[in-house]
């Protein structure tokens, strides 16, 4: 009889009976897998996140991220367990989470890779459109205010708002710094809504833009009011740009350095080209891919039943959507206001893409424009505000961290 009893104690059956929340979390993890695999929602991140959710909610498996209270050795978290003690007491997933995520390490590393995959060319060719990457940060702050009104702390509200930056690593980095206990749902909301950009942008555009505005043809505007500034030496400009930009932005928003600095380093390395091709290869290949796997698994593993099944999770789902919508709205309104004052009109879709979610948002905007006028290719124009939106949300994140941390 003892053997059967021991056998039963070894299994996790009693844990599921005691806490059926685990089963619900396994269902949620499976649903996220479905979204990632079948619906192809940002699969590169959603699949590891979903698997992390599943691993974390297999009771007895020891793969769930534990609260920082168990790591801290004093009340203010200044003195903590070391990594070996974490691995011994809480297993490898906590070892990974506390060394790679809690330290704020992986998001800047992923930004380095994204930088090395980014081409600032379209932005440099349509510089004035880059401006709308600012207007499209509105959702961040509007949702921040709303969330505080609903009882979130300022730090939690800022983490919720930053979903409106539509940029995964930025959202994760900000949440790590301000409200790590909400990391799982915020990361999932951010990536899910990025995958839903083909739905959200048309929705907002439908209620805010007239047909006449959507028919504005950017190429004809360019012919009518040609730019006086031609780029004679694109390579030199592209090399100088990340260096100068990095230094100047950092002087104004120092707390954006870990994110923006690494993004621009990655970009610089890529633009230098063949002499440092080894570095570009590492930044966009083994480093980025490895970081993506571990970011996904550990972020997913923060979503244990007790943390996730909370009223705040629902608020994050709702608030994240609002943040996206308001940011798109902000970009569109920014264009509308600008159009009041300039002769060279701008298609409001080029404001909507200020959201970021590169390059999906630009593709979606281009498709909308083509629906109204099959000759109105605006992809290159959208890419300008689209890329600048990444800078915009990193700057917004810097402001939030600087004021709230």
């Amino acid at each position: 009889m003892g053997i059967l009893e021991n056998l039963y104690k070894m299994t996790a059956i009693q844990d599921f009976i005691n806490n059926p929340g685990y089963l619900l979390m396994l269902a949620i993890g499976s649903f996220l897998l479905y979204l990632g695999i079948r619906k192809q929602y940002e699969p590169l991140l959603l699949v590891p996140i979903a698997f992390g959710v599943i691993l974390a909610n297999l009771p007895g498996g020891g793969m769930g991220v534990v609260s920082a209270d168990l790591i801290n050795l004093d009340a203010d978290g200044h003195h903590t367990k070391n990594l070996l003690e974490i691995a011994k007491d809480h297993g490898i997933m906590n070892f990974l989470y506390y060394s790679l995520i809690k330290t704020g390490f992986l998001p800047p590393i992923i930004f380095m890779g994204i930088g090395a995959l980014t081409d600032f060319g379209p932005m440099l060719r349509n510089l004035r459109l880059a401006f709308f990457g600012a207007a499209a940060q509105l959702g961040i702050f509007i949702v921040l205010i709303s969330a505080i009104a609903l009882g979130f702390t300022a730090k939690e509200a800022a983490s919720l708002g930053i979903i409106g930056g539509a940029d995964g690593p930025t959202a994760i980095y900000t949440t790590i710094k301000l409200a790590p206990h909400l990391l799982g749902p915020i990361a999932i909301a951010a990536y899910s809504y990025m995958a839903l950009v083909p739905v959200i942008i048309p929705l907002v555009v439908k209620y805010t833009c007239s047909k006449k505005e959507l028919l504005i043809n950017m190429k004809e505007m360019d012919k009518k009011y040609p730019s006086t500034l031609k780029i004679k030496n694109l390579r030199a400009v592209k090399i100088a740009f990340p260096i100068v930009l990095g230094i100047v932005v950092s002087i104004f928003v120092p707390s954006s350095v870990p994110l923006l600095g690494m993004l621009l380093f990655g970009n610089l390395v890529k633009e230098i080209g063949v002499n440092v091709a080894r570095l570009t290869e590492a930044a966009t290949g083994s480093i980025l891919n490895t970081a993506t796997i571990f970011l996904g698994l550990t972020v997913g593993a923060t979503m244990t039943a007790d943390v996730f099944l909370d009223f705040k999770t629902i608020m994050i789902v709702v608030g994240g959507f609002l943040a996206f919508a308001v940011s798109i709205f902000g970009g569109i309104v920014g264009v509308k206001i600008t159009n009041l004052f300039v002769k060279k009109k701008i298609n409001p879709l080029c404001g909507a893409t200020g959201l970021s979610a590169v390059p999906m948002a630009s593709r979606v905007a281009n498709d909308i424009a083509l629906k109204y006028d099959s000759s109105n290719h605006i992809l290159q124009y959208c890419m300008s505000s689209n890329i600048s939106g990444v800078i915009g949300s990193a700057v917004a994140a810097g402001v939030l961290i600087s004021f709230l941390q």
């Binding site: 600012a134 940060q137 205010i145 500034l229 004679k232 030496n233 030199a236 930009l245 402001v399 709230l404």
Partner: protein, 86 residues
């Protein structure tokens, strides 16, 4: 200051900062382009590969011939990414 006051201040500070920074992006981009146009207008050649260890020893004449051939055949749409001696 209460939480809502902080929130409103963040709205102000945040949006102002973002607008300032992206204005700077526009201005700096413009200045860099003008600077480069004035002082380094020539289309730089891609730098010669130095200190590489790949051990490619196909000589430059052959390389040129290959590149030319590929370019001709492909109407310039193809490039020889890498030829290694086997």
């Amino acid at each position: 200051m209460n939480e809502m006051g902080i929130a409103l201040e963040l709205l102000g500070v945040g949006m102002v900062t973002v607008f300032v920074i992206l204005s700077l992006v526009v201005i700096l981009g413009d200045l860099i382009i003008r600077f480069v146009n004035r002082f380094m207008p020539e289309i730089e050649k891609a730098p010669v590969v130095k200190n590489t260890t790949s051990g490619s020893e196909i000589n430059s004449k052959k390389m040129a011939a290959i590149v030319a051939a590929v370019s001709k055949i492909t109407n310039g749409a193809g490039r020889v990414a890498n030829i290694e001696k086997l």
